[in-house]
Structures are given as C-alpha cells and as structure tokens.
Amino acid sequence: MARTQLDSITKVFTERGGNEIVAVNDVSIDIKDGEFLVLVGPSGCGKSTTLRMIAGLESITSGEIRFDGTVVNDIPAKDRDIAMVFQSYALYPHMTVQGNMAFGLEESTDLSDAEVEERVEESAQMMGIGDLLDRKPGELSGGQQQRVALGRAIVREPEVFLMDEPLSNLDAKLRSEMRTELQRIQEQFDTTTIYVTHDQTEAMTMGDRIAILDDGKLQQVGTPIECYHQPANRFVASFIGEPSMNFLSVSLEGNRFIGERFEYPISSALAESIGEQTDLTIGVRPEDISLVDEPDTHTISMVVDVVEPMGDQNVVYLVFPEAEVGIEGPGESIIATIEGMHHVQSGDTVEAHIPEDALQVFDQSGEAIRNRHLDVSPAQIQF
C-alpha cells in the first residue's frame, strides 16, 4: 500500500509532422494510502493517459510521480509493484484461469510452485471463480472473465491497483453488482486504487474522492458530495449529476438576475458575494426545482414540454412560454425532477420554484463564484 503523488505531470504526444498534442496538462493529485480515487472525465480528457503514466506504460513528459515519496518516473513498469485491470480484460487466451492468475507471480516473484498455487487458489475462491480454474478465457462469460482479470490483479498483492474502465464491457445489471463487489474488495485489502471511468455514476458511487479531468486539465478533486454540491466550475457542475444541472445565462442588476425571459430577485447577501461581475451563469440541479401552484418571487412560469416518468420520479422538460414547444435554443429549457406521483402533462403551464439556497453562480469563464448553501459541510459527511 502506497501513497501516490502526481506532481504536475504533463504528457505531450508528438504527432507525425511535428504537431504537439498535450494529453495531460500539469495534473497534481495526492492520493492517500488506501484511498479509492476515481479519475473521471469525457473520452479524450487524458484520464487513461494519466493512469498509463502511473503504470509506467507511458513516459512522463514533465513532472514527477512518487510512490511513498520515491520518484518512480524512471522505474520500469514491472518494478513498480502495481497491478492493472484493463478494459478488454487482456487475459492470455491460451492459458487456463489458473495459468492467467499464476503468470504474474511466476514472472515477478521467487515463490515456489506450491505457494503460487496456494495464493491463486485463495484469490480465486475470494472472487468466486474457484471452480473455473481449469477453463480457458474463451470458455467464460464476460462477467467471469472480468472476475478473472480482477483475480489476476489481486493475487499479486500490489501496492497500487490501477483500473482502466474495467466495468464498461458488462451489461447494466452485472455492472452494478461488480461495482459493489469492487468496493468490498478494495475495503478488504485497503490497497490504494486508482480507477478510470467516463461514467459519473461509477465515479460518484465508488470513489473516496473523485478527480475530474477535462481536456488534459484537472478540474477538481474532492469527495463525491463536494463535487456534486460544490463544483469548482461549470464543467464539473454539468458533468456530475444525472440529469445534468440546468444553466441559465443572466446578468446581475442590483438585487436581481435578469435573464432573457425571466427575472429573479436575490438577497443582498448573495448579490454582495458576487461582487462586480455582471455577466453570469446560474446553475440549479433538477431535483432542487419544484412545481408549485402559487407564483411567488422565486418562481418562473413555464410550459411542460416532455415528461419522462421513471416511476419514483418524473423528469420534466420545461420551456419558457414564449418559446415554441419543440424548438429549443440554449438556455431556453430547464429540466426538473419531481416526485413520481405528481401528475403533469405536456402543454401544462406550471410555476417552477427555484430556491435561492440552491443556486450555483459561475462567472463568464465558468469558474464558480458561489456554491449552493448547505446546512452540513460535505466534509462532515462520511461513508
């Protein structure tokens, strides 16, 4: 188990013809011993490249990676004492499950055959693949192959687990099962784990902390709750949460936000905290919006466009009355999630209530100026 520090690491790929592409740009993360860190971001954001640099499969253009204080930049992959689970599982097709799991121990340790067999047996039992040891990968289902790939990593008892979208090839049901199982295993071993995914649900549910990357740059590192409620910028706010946060562009005039089609009075405390800037974007999570009967100062009259009943909740797409239904411009529709039994239908005019406490305010460049008000600090919320 090792504390893993990424110290302003940068990766530049040089294309044929001399074009330089910055895949990872000055990323620094301090990952505590035994922590489960999820690297999340859209495809092409540099998360896999970051993981591959930690693994030693990719050289580091600049910056340092340290395991327990030791710089590992120049230590070859096989000596870094890490195990990696690949998206494609990368099992050796000609070897049995037993052979696949034993390979790493045979190549990297001096353990006797009996010891190797014992450790493989033990890990296989733990992964529930004890009775598959004599099969070859081609004879296994996707879920079983996934377990073998995990087992192959566990049996090595490495300092750091690296996982590159390990669940993305599984069907939805199996994926959520494996998600729980992975967390259980990580807790049991208490091994530092760095997990790459593009799926924000995986990031939210699995990570002790999540690191959000976009375009090679680190946007925010924090607990899932922090990132959800106190996003550092507009990108994080929109990436985390499903359905995505609503954004409306407004300008601040005195104690009011003026939007293209609405006005929203705010408290002077909020107006003061924003300061001089006037070109702003406000964000509000769909679940913070409620549909009420009586208009008041914090409601906006809107028309229901589409309702998606999910059972426990309804996802309601709202448009401004002046906007033609079905034709949407940016900032002209918002999404609200309301209770599943609350009946609304397309074409209804409703009063959407947006509480001031729930507002996120971003400046022109997308940086958060003010996060929503919370009664408890996210740091106090422990799982």
Partner: protein, 306 residues
C-alpha cells in the same frame, strides 16, 4: 379450408422438388471439377505403372492391362532419387525451421516492440521479398565459392563421423534458403502479431515478464497455427526449389545433389523421354510435401481461418 391444405401441400412439394434439383446440380458440378482436376494426376499415376510398350499402345489415362503393368519404373526411380531425397530433407527441414523461428522473432521485434528506425528495417524486409532469384544467382555463387568456401574453411570437420565434404554444400543451401525465406515469413507472422491485443502485451509487461519471456510464454504459444502455415509453405517452397540447387550444387553427380536436381535429368535419354519413369519420379519426390500437409493440416486450417 381443404383447398388451402392442398395449396400448402403443393407448394411444399414443388419446394422440395427444387431443393432436390439444386442438390443434383451442385453435386454434378463438384463431380465435374473433381474429374477435371484429377485427370492429370490419374494419368500420371497409371502411366507410372506402364511398361514402355504399354505407353505407346494405350491412351495416357487408361490403366495398363495385366501384361502392360510393371513396378520396375518405381523401383528404378526410387533408387535413383533416394540419395537426392535424403539430401533435400537434410537442408529443407533445418531451413524451414530456422525460417519460421527467425521470421517469428523478427516479426515480434518489428511489431510489438517500439524502437527507432523500425519502419526502415521493415521496409528492407519487404524489399527482400521482391528480389528475384535470377538477380542473385551470380553474386550467390561468387559468395559461396570464392568468398566463403565452407568446404575448405571447415576442413577440420570432414574427418568426424557422420560428416562428409558434401555437408559443406548442404550448409550453404540451409543458409541460403533461410535467408531467402525470412522476409516473407516475417510478413506472415507480422500480420498475425499486429492483430494481437496491445493490452495483453501490456498486461504481460506489468506482470513482470521481460520481452523474451513474453515471447516465449505468450507470443510463441499463440502463434502455433501460423507456424503450421509457415512450415507447410516454406517446406513446399524449399523442397521444390531448383535454381539455388543448380547454382550451389552445380552437378547432378555431386554427392550433395538435391531431389529436384536429379529429377530434372531422370528419364531423359537420347532415344527419347521415359514417361513412366518420369511420372514415378515425380510422385516419389512429391511425397514428402504431401506428408507435411497431412501432418499440419489441422493447425494449418486454424492458421488460415479469418
């Protein structure tokens, strides 16, 4: 209701009729092709059992009668070719194996490892495929006879048991065929290695396996079917090769003479061509390639499957 039943019955019957017709057509076509391809082989085979008189008096594809039948041509061909067969095996088997091993290693280094200039080196391999045999005949003979001259340089070996002067020529053939075969074999292996999962290679790297161990324990076992393809292909190629034998061995009467070299003169005489003898000789010299096909057929099928 009853009408409908009759209708169904009738369409079903006509459908069955059509299926039967298609089957008949298919089988007739297959049969015709079999006859077409087998006639030359069948003619050769029956001719090889004919006496010289029977050859003159019967059509090529008609089997000889009892009085026209002889095994003599086979016996003669076998005794004439047996030394050549042995010599050919002596250089074909090592060259085939060496080609496969070197080709596979070269392909591994050119595909799954990263280093500067590998594109250039691979281009050299590609170029190697296209050098025509004829272009290298003179440099080749100059190289072996003037510059290397294994027979003289390895003179101390020829006194040892089981070794003789002719083995110098055999060694020259082994080296020549290996060198000439490596480029095409490399390209064959490279095609397979290119399709191998990069993540699997990386997994092996993280598992602590060195380049060499990865090759031994992962790449080599996975390329067994391609080895079968290469064995069959290279064995046939080298066994049937004539020009290098002619240049390096030079004479039919040389103790190192290969089977193709001897076969070229078999049954040729001033009084005419002895067709039965030539046919018997051809069958005997084709036998080893057939055996190799049979031995590696299963793996070969796996290797050429897309």
């Amino acid at each position: 209701m009853s009408e409908a039943t009759i209708d169904v019955d009738e369409t079903e019957r006509s459908l069955r009729e059509r299926v039967r017709l298609r089957t008949v057509a298919l089988y007739s076509a297959v049969l015709a092709l079999v006859v077409f391809y087998m006639i030359p082989i069948q003619s050769g085979l029956v001719t090889s059992f004919k006496t010289s008189r029977a050859v003159r008096e019967t059509a090529p594809f008609v089997p000889p009668g009892l009085e026209g039948f002889t095994l003599g041509k086979w016996e003669f061909a076998f005794s004439a070719l047996s030394d050549g067969m042995f010599n050919s095996l002596l250089f074909t088997i090592p060259s085939t194996i060496l080609c496969a091993i070197f080709g596979s290693m070269a392909a591994y280094g050119l595909t799954l490892a990263k280093w500067r200039g590998q594109i250039f080196v691979f281009a050299l391999f590609i170029a190697g495929i296209f050098i025509p045999y004829q272009a290298v005949i003179i440099p080749l003979s100059e190289f072996w006879n003037v510059w290397v001259d294994l027979e003289a340089r390895l003179g101390f070996l020829w006194g040892l048991p089981l070794l003789a002067r002719k083995h110098a020529t055999i060694m020259e053939l082994i080296v020549t065929h290996t060198a000439y075969g490596i480029p095409i074999v490399t390209v064959l292996f490279r095609a397979q290695y290119k399709s191998m999962s990069r993540e699997m290679m990386e997994a092996a790297k993280l598992d602590g396996a060195s380049m060499w161990r990865t090759y031994r324990r992962i790449i080599l076992p996975l390329s067994v079917p391609m080895f079968a393809v290469v064995f069959i292909f290279q064995f046939t190629q080298i066994w049937n090769e004539f020009l290098f034998s002619l240049i390096i061995i030079q004479s039919v009467s040389d103790p190192a003479a290969s089977v193709t070299l001897i076969l070229s003169g078999l049954g040729e005489a001033l009084e005419g061509v002895d067709f039965p003898l030539r046919m018997a000789g051809a069958f005997i010299s084709a036998l080893p390639t057939l055996i190799v096909y049979v031995l590696f057929a299963d793996k070969f099928a796996e290797g050429v499957r897309v």
